[in-house]
Symmetry: C2
Subunit: 697 residues, 2 copies
C-alpha cells in the first residue's frame, strides 16, 4: 500500500494526448499538483505532452514503475492489466467505470480482473476510482485539477467514492493529508487501507466512507486494531431503505442491514457519524482536540442563552455539567452585586461587565475549569470583534494564558461569534483549541472526543463454552438441515441440548396421545397448531391457553380443528403442540446470518409489540456475559425486567445465560441462517423458551 501512496515513478495508461481546458488529462493534473516523481504517459499514438514523451506502450518505459494508473474504456482494461503484469508492475489503479457499478457484464469483467490480480500477485485499486491523494508528497491521481492545499490536517480518508477527496476541503475545516478511493474494491479494500493507515505516522485520525462492505470480518479486524491506535470515524451511507437501494446500483456493494453495521462499528471501536456536517465536526474535533477523558463539561460563556443551548446538547450527547471548581465562585464574586449568578455554565458577561474585568474573569474561569479534576473539557463561547473599540473583548491572550496556567491539554471547544471568520485561525493556534460553527456543534465536537475515549478502552469479548448433548443435537440439526427448518418442539429441543431452557411439551396428532402426555404434565396447558403450514398460528385461531383439565384439552383440540376447517377445509393438521403454560414477560432472542458480518444475535421485547416498538438490541457473535448484559440494559423494557410497582423482577442472570448459550450455539452451527425464539417468558423463576423457529441456509 505504501508505494500506492508514495511512488517514485508512475505510468499513466490511456492518458489523452490533448491537454488544457476540457482535456481531463491526468498527467497534466499530476504535474500541476507538484508531484516530484517520474511520470510516464502511455498512449499508442505516441508523441509528447507538456515536455514529456508519450510512450506508445508500457514496454517502452525504461524502468519497472512503482505504480500504473489505467484509464481506458472498460473493454480494454484487461489487456492493459496484462501489459502491467508483463512489465513487472506490482501496483495498478483502475480509474475506468462500467464494472460492478454498471451491469452484469461489468461485474464479470471485474471478477476476471480480480482473479488475474490474485493469480499474478499484482495489487489492484478500483475499478471505478479516482485513486489516491497524498499531500505530504504532492501526489494526486485525479483527472480533475484540484489546487494543492497549503495547509492540511494529519487526517486520512478512505472512501468508496472520489467525491469526498475532491470535496475534502468542503467536508473538513481544513484540508486533509491523504485520501484513498477504493472504488469497487475488487482487490484492495477498506480493510487493506486501514491496515496501512493504522501504522502510518503521518495519519492521526482516519475517516472512512462506505456504502457497504464485502469482507466484514477483515474490516472488524483492521478497524479494531486501528481504532486502538487512533480515532476511526465512519460515515456509512445507504442507511435508509431508499439509500440502500441507491447504494446497490452505485457501487454494487453488498448491503447488509444498517442496524448490523451499528453493532459492527461498536465492536470495531469506530465512531459512526450520520451526515457530512457531523463528519466535518468529528474530523475537526478529533484532529485538533483529541480525547476527552470523561463526560464532565465546563462552560464559560459570554451569553447566558448559550449556556442553555449547551445544556440541551450536552444531555443529548451523553455529557454532563461538571461541578464548579472549589474557590472559583468566591474569586469571581468578589466586588459584584449579590444577584449575579455564578454557576457552571459561567455566564461571564455580567461578571465581566459589572466587575470591569471581563478578560481576567474569563481567563480565571477557563484556567480553573481546565485545572479542576472535576472537569474533562471546556466549552468557551465569546465575542470576537475587529472593532478598534473592543480590543478589551479580545480573548486570544486570555485563552493562551489559561492554557499555560492549567498545564494540561484538556479540550477547549469554542464558539467565537460576531467576527468569527477572521479569528478562527488565531484561536486554533493555541494548543487543544478548536472553533466550531455553533454552540451545539462545539458540544457535539467534545462528545466525539469522549466517545472515542470510551471506544478505545473497550474490552474484547470473552465468550464461554457450555456442555452440549451432542448426540441428540446432532440428530436434530441433521433433521433441520434436511428439511431446511425446525419448528416448535423440535427447535426447542435442539436449543435445549445447548442448555437453553424451554417449556415442557410434546407434539402429537391424536387426542389419545395428547391426553397421555398431558397426564404426565402439570396444568394449565397451552395447545397450539404445529407444522409448517401454520407459521402464524394466531391467524389460524390455532392457540388455546389456560387449559386446566383433560376435558378442556379435548375441547381445545376440537375448537382449533374447526377454526382451521373454516378457513381452509382441505388442509390437514399434522400435529398439535401441547405445553405446560409458562408466565413472565415476553422477550425474544434471535440469530441472523448477515451476509457481511456473519451471525448477529438479537434480544428484545417479544410478542405483539416487537414490530411496533422495535425495542431490540443487536450484537455480533460471539457475545459474552458482559455484552449480553449490556444488550439487555440498553432495552427500553429493561426497567420492566428489573420489576416495577411492587412486582418482582425477572431473573436477568438467566436471560444473560440464555444469550451466551445462544451465541455458543451460533458459533457451533455456522450454517444456521435464521433463528427466532419468540417468546421467551422471563420471570423471577428464570426464563423459558415457548416457541422457536430455526432456518438453515
Amino acid at each position: 500500500m505504501h508505494k500506492f501512496m508514495d511512488p517514485a515513478s508512475v505510468a499513466l495508461i490511456g492518458t489523452p494526448r490533448r491537454t488544457g481546458a476540457g482535456a481531463f488529462n491526468n498527467a497534466e493534473m499530476m504535474l500541476r499538483y507538484g508531484f516530484r516523481g517520474r511520470i510516464y504517459p502511455v498512449n499508442p499514438a505516441g508523441g509528447d505532452i507538456l515536455g514529456m514523451k508519450i510512450h506508445p506502450a508500457l514496454a517502452d518505459i525504461p524502468e519497472p514503475v512503482d505504480l500504473a494508473v489505467i484509464s481506458v474504456g472498460r473493454d480494454r482494461v484487461a489487456a492493459a492489466f496484462e501489459d502491467c503484469i508483463r512489465a513487472g508492475i506490482r501496483r495498478v489503479i483502475v480509474i475506468s467505470q462500467g464494472f460492478a457499478d454498471a451491469d452484469e457484464r461489468g461485474r464479470r469483467l471485474q471478477d476476471q480482473l480480480a482473479a488475474r490480480a490474485r493469480e499474478s500477485g499484482v495489487r489492484v485499486m478500483g475499478p471505478n476510482t479516482l485513486g489516491v491523494v497524498n499531500n505530504f508528497r504532492r501526489f494526486n491521481t485525479a483527472f480533475i485539477d484540484i489546487p494543492f492545499p497549503e495547509r492540511f490536517l494529519p487526517v486520512s480518508l478512505v472512501a468508496q467514492t472520489g467525491v469526498l477527496q475532491v470535496a475534502s476541503r468542503n467536508l473538513s475545516w481544513h484540508d486533509i493529508g491523504k485520501a484513498i478511493d477504493v472504488g469497487n474494491a475488487c482487490d484492495l479494500d477498506i480493510a487493506d487501507a486501514l491496515d496501512y493507515l493504522a501504522d502510518d505516522p503521518e495519519t492521526k485520525v482516519i475517516v472512512v466512507h462506505m456504502e457497504g462492505l464485502k469482507r466484514g470480518p477483515a474490516f472488524l479486524e483492521s478497524a479494531g486494531r486501528a481504532s486502538r491506535l487512533k480515532p476511526v470515524i465512519v460515515i456509512k451511507t445507504g442507511r435508509s431503505a431508499a439509500g440502500a437501494k441507491a447504494a446497490l446500483s452505485h457501487s454494487g456493494s453488498l448491503v447488509g442491514e444498517d442496524d448490523v453495521y451499528d453493532a459492527a462499528f461498536e465492536r470495531a471501536g469506530v465512531l459512526r457519524v450520520r451526515t457530512g456536517g457531523q463528519m466535518r465536526d468529528a474530523i475537526h474535533a478529533l484532529a485538533v482536540l483529541g480525547e476527552m477523558e470523561g463526560p464532565r463539561l465546563g462552560v464559560v460563556t459570554a451569553t447566558g442563552a448559550g449556556g442553555i443551548m449547551a445544556a440541551d446538547t450536552a444531555e443529548e450527547h451523553g455529557l454532563v455539567f461538571g461541578k464548579m471548581p472549589a474557590d472559583l465562585r468566591e474569586k469571581l464574586r468578589a466586588g459584584l452585586p449579590d444577584w449575579v449568578h455564578v454557576t457552571n455554565p459561567i455566564d461571564i458577561w455580567p461578571i465581566g461587565m459589572l466587575g470591569g474585568r471581563y478578560e481576567e474573569a474569563f481567563r480565571l474561569s477557563l484556567a480553573e475549569m481546565l485545572k479542576s479534576p472535576g472537569i474533562d473539557g471546556v466549552l468557551a463561547v465569546f465575542i470576537v470583534s475587529g472593532s478598534p473599540l473592543h480590543g478589551d473583548l479580545d480573548l486570544e491572550q486570555a485563552v493562551d494564558r489559561a492554557r499555560r496556567e492549567a498545564g494540561n491539554l484538556k479540550p477547549i471547544a469554542a464558539w467565537p461569534y460576531l467576527d468569527s471568520a477572521a479569528s478562527v485561525e488565531r484561536f486554533e493556534r493555541i494548543p487543544g483549541v478548536a472553533c466550531f460553527d455553533s454552540i451545539e456543534q462545539a458540544v457535539e465536537g467534545l462528545s466525539y472526543g469522549y466517545r472515542y475515549h470510551r471506544l478505545r478502552r473497550r474490552g474484547t469479548p470473552r465468550p464461554r463454552s457450555f456442555p452440549v448433548d451432542r448426540a441428540r443435537a446432532g440428530g436434530l440439526a441433521a433433521k433441520g438441515r434436511r428439511k431446511g427448518i425446525l419448528l416448535g418442539q423440535d427447535a426447542l429441543e435442539l436449543l435445549g441440548c445447548y442448555g437453553i431452557p424451554a417449556a415442557r411439551g410434546i407434539e402429537a396428532g391424536s387426542l389419545s396421545a395428547l391426553v397421555r402426555a398431558a397426564r404426565a404434565m402439570k396444568p394449565p396447558f397451552v395447545l397450539k397448531l404445529a407444522g409448517r403450514a401454520f407459521l402464524h398460528k394466531s391467524e389460524w385461531g390455532g392457540i388455546v391457553t389456560g387449559i386446566g383439565t383433560l376435558a378442556g384439552l379435548k375441547a381445545a383440540r376440537k375448537g382449533i380443528a374447526e377454526n382451521v376447517r373454516a378457513k381452509d377445509p382441505g388442509l390437514r393438521i399434522e400435529a398439535f403442540h401441547l405445553q405446560e403454560q409458562a408466565a413472565g414477560r415476553e422477550i425474544l432472542l434471535g440469530l441472523k446470518r448477515d451476509p457481511v458480518f456473519g451471525h448477529v444475535l438479537a434480544c428484545g421485547q417479544g410478542g405483539v409489540y416487537t414490530e411496533v416498538f422495535r425495542d431490540v438490541s443487536r450484537d455480533l457473535v460471539p457475545v459474552d456475559g458482559a455484552a449480553a448484559r449490556a444488550m439487555l440494559e440498553s432495552l427500553k423494557i429493561w426497567p420492566l425486567l428489573m420489576g416495577v410497582r411492587g412486582e418482582k423482577g425477572a431473573d436477568t442472570e438467566a436471560i444473560v445465560g440464555a444469550i451466551e448459550r445462544l451465541s455458543f450455539f451460533a458459533s457451533e452451527n455456522p450454517d444456521v441462517a435464521e433463528l427466532d425464539i419468540n417468546p421467551v417468558l422471563a420471570s423471577s423463576e428464570g426464563c423459558v423458551a415457548v416457541d422457536a423457529r430455526i432456518l438453515w441456509q
Copy 2:
C-alpha cells in the same frame, strides 16, 4: 412597535461620558452604525461627546422623543422610567440587567416596572435586553460596535437574548434585516413582536428564539396569524432537563413541559428547529427558496455517492424521490453505452463525461425536473472549480438557463463542492437557488419549505359540543373541588356525565353490599382497592381479576384485605371498587393544565408500558375529531389498534369520540388541574374507561 424600530429621535439615558475603546458607549455605537435620526445622550454630569451635547436630564431635551433607552443600574431604573413618563415619552427600552433574571428583589423591581408601564400606557421593552436592530434604517441600540452589514435578507428575529442579534451573521448565511430582543419581557413580549412583524412588509421570514413563554394564548394567536402570512421559525431552548433548569435562572421564564411546546408550535403553524445549525439552514432555505409544494424530490448530481446521501436524508425528513420525467431518460441515454444508469437521482458524471456534454446534460436534466409536474423541488450537486482547465464544468449558465426554460420558481437547493466558497454568491443570484454546506443540509433545507407549505394550509379546530347530565356532573365536580380529587367510581361517573363510557361498577365496603351489587352485574368481575390511601393499587396487592362467582368475590375481598394488613396492619380499607371486567387494548387519555398553554390533552399506550415507551401524543384543548384521529394515528401502537395477525381492530371511532368528549369536559371544567383515565380498554365493541383520577387546582 413600529416606532421602536424606526424612531426619528432617541434619548439615551445613562450613556457613559467616556467614548472610544472599552467605553461601550451606545451613543457612539449608534453614530458608527449610521443612524440618521436625532440622538440625545442623557447624563447628569452633562458635557458633550462626539459633537453631541449631553443633556443632564430628559427634561432638557427640546422635543418629546420617540424612544428612550435606559441603561443605568437596576436601582435607578424606576426613577428614570418616571422621568420618561413625565417627559411624554411613549416607548422605553430597558437595557439594564438584574431583574427577574437575577433574584427575588429583581423580580419585584420588574413587577413594579411592569405595573407602572400598564398604568401609564408607556410601552417597555426589556429589562435585560440589547434592544432592537433595524438594518433598513441603520438603527441599532446595542452598546457593542457591530459593523453595519452591506447585504442582508428580509428576515426578522425575535429573541429572548441579545446574542442572536450580535451573532446573526454567524447564524444565518447572510445577515438579517431586523432583530428584537424582548429580554425579560415585562411588557412587550414575543406575541407583540410577532403582531408587528406579521404585517411588516420588510419582513418575509420571522425567526423566534425563546426559552419559555408567559402568555401562551397570546403567542398562539399572534404566531397563528403570522404563520399564515409568512414562515415563522422557532428555536426553543431549554428542551432538556438540564437546559430547562438553566433557562429558569437565565431569563426567569416560566418553563412549561417541552412536549407541550411541540403541540403548541404545531397548533400555531410555526416550524420548530432544535439547533443553531438548523436555524441557519431554515432561515436560508425559507428566505431564498420559499415553499416546496409537495414532498417529491428530483436529484441531479455529479456524484453517485451524493445521491445515496440525499436518499438517506430525504427519508428522514419526509421527502421522497419523484419519478423521472417521461422522456428525459431517452434524451439523456442517446449516444451512451448501455450500462449507464439513468434514474432519479440522476448521476450526471458518467452521462456527461462519456457523452462529452456534461453541461448540456445537466441543464437538460435540471430543466426537465423543474418542469415536471411530478417533481416539487430539486437538489443539485456539482463541482465548481476556479481552474482554467475546467471552464466546461461551470454550471452557472446551465442553472440559469434551466430556470428560465422551466418558467417556474420551484426550489433548487445546491451543494457546490471543491471551490464552493467563491461560487455561492454567483449561484444565489439565480432566482430560487440556495447553496448549502452539505448534501444533507440541502435536502433538509428543502424539507423546511415543504413543512411550511403544510403548516400554512393547516385547518382550524372545530370542536363539537356534547349533551351533559349537568345536575349529576355539578354535584360530582363540587365534591371533587371540595376534596381536591376524585378517584375510581366517582371520577368515572363524572366523565360518564360527559358521555365517556366506563365499565359498569360500584364502590362499597361491606361484603353484603358488594354481593348485592354483583347480583345485578355480569361476571367476570374485577375487585380493586378504593380510596386515596391506595393510589398504586397493584403495589398493595389490591387488584383481583377474573372473578366468576360470588364465592370468588368473597375470597378476593378477603385476599386483598390480607395483603393490605400484611403491609400496614393499622390501615383501614374504606371501600372496594367492584367492576364488570372489560377487555381490549390498554390506552390512556389524560389532561394536564399547563401553566403557559392551559389544558393539554394526551392519548397513548396505557398500562405498564406507558412509562417505558412514552408512546403518547399531545394536543392543546380544544381538540376536534380530525385532531383526535391525528393524535391516534401518530401513535406507534396505531397498527395494533387497527388490528394485527387476524385479530379484530379496536373501534377507533369510539376512541375519537371519547377524546372529543374529554376536550369538551376540559373546556367546561377549566379548574381541573390534572386528569388520567388509565386504562381505557379499546376493543372492536367500543372503548370503556376502567380507572380514572381527577385533580383540582
